[in-house]
């Protein structure tokens, strides 16, 4: 048992700390808040207000609050939200054509 002790302690620390540093997007949704489909804006397109699939680089999930993902600052779009009318949900992408941003989400300091 003694030879397993340090390993057990390491595992317990890992489980405990990873549970305490869970990202904010996993917190329970407050009543009355609308959920959006979040997308990361492609580099260079941060100043656009109408976006198509070529202007977004990744689908970030569906939640009431934007997922944290390395965006910080102000001025340019980084993670933006769209409602169900704009999103091809099974394929996790925007429908064809340009779509107005429904939630400006998280900004960033560079375009």
């Amino acid at each position: 048992m003694k030879k397993y002790l340090t390993g057990i302690i390491a595992i317990l620390f890992a489980v405990g700390i990873s549970a305490f540093t869970k990202p904010e997007a996993k917190k329970p949704v407050k009543e009355g808040l609308t959920s959006y489909y979040w997308f990361r804006v492609a580099t260079g397109d941060g100043d656009l207000s109408m976006l198509s699939n070529s202007n977004v680089s990744a689908y970030m999930g569906f939640s009431a609050t934007p997922p944290t993902s390395g965006c910080s600052g102000s001025g340019y779009n980084c993670i933006v939200g769209f409602d169900a009318d704009d999103v091809d949900i099974p394929n996790e992408q925007l429908k064809p054509g340009d779509h107005g941003i429904d939630n400006s989400g998280t900004p960033r300091s560079t375009e």
Partner: protein, 153 residues
């Protein structure tokens, strides 16, 4: 006798460090699976294989943790750790050179590091895994030499 104890303890501590790092990053990735998968899909090296990579990476990390946990397989675990850390370090170096604007798809507080900090961190862990291989091999060799002795080791 003294040498075995200190070597054994050092190997245990090293393996505990890697068990903690792999288990923590794997669990952090699994707790935020959707974002992790989305970030992986942005990487030019992974792209469309993000779905496969998103569950495979945590699975490999957790398996490596288990291999390091068991004393009988610890030496092999350090070798796997060396391979993994070399791959991760290569990936971070590539991202630093070609895609420095993309966020890190690492788990937990490691994602708060810059790419450069992450590179130094990974290099340090790679060196540590080499130390682990050497120490665990030295430990086995010492026991093997003494196996012919009637005195308990």
């Amino acid at each position: 006798m003294k040498i075995i104890i200190s070597n054994t303890r050092a190997v245990e501590i090293l393996s505990a460090i890697f068990i903690f790092i792999f288990a923590y990053t794997a669990l952090s990735k699994l707790f935020d699976y959707t974002s992790f998968k989305a970030l992986l899909s942005q990487s030019p090296l992974i792209g469309k294989r993000a779905g496969l990579a998103a569950w495979m990476l945590p699975a490999v990390e957790l398996t490596t943790s288990l291999i390091l946990f068991l004393p009988s397989t610890r030496s092999f675990g350090f070798k796997i750790t060396l391979v993994l850390m070399s791959l991760f370090t290569g990936y971070v170096a590539y991202m630093l050179l070609f895609e420095p604007d993309l966020p890190c798809s690492c788990g937990g507080v490691v994602s708060a590091m810059t790419w450069k900090q992450h590179l130094y961190f990974n290099i340090a862990l790679t060196i540590l895994s080499m130390v682990g291989i050497r120490m665990s091999n030295k430990h086995k060799l010492f026991i093997a030499i003494n196996r012919s002795s009637r005195t308990p080791v």
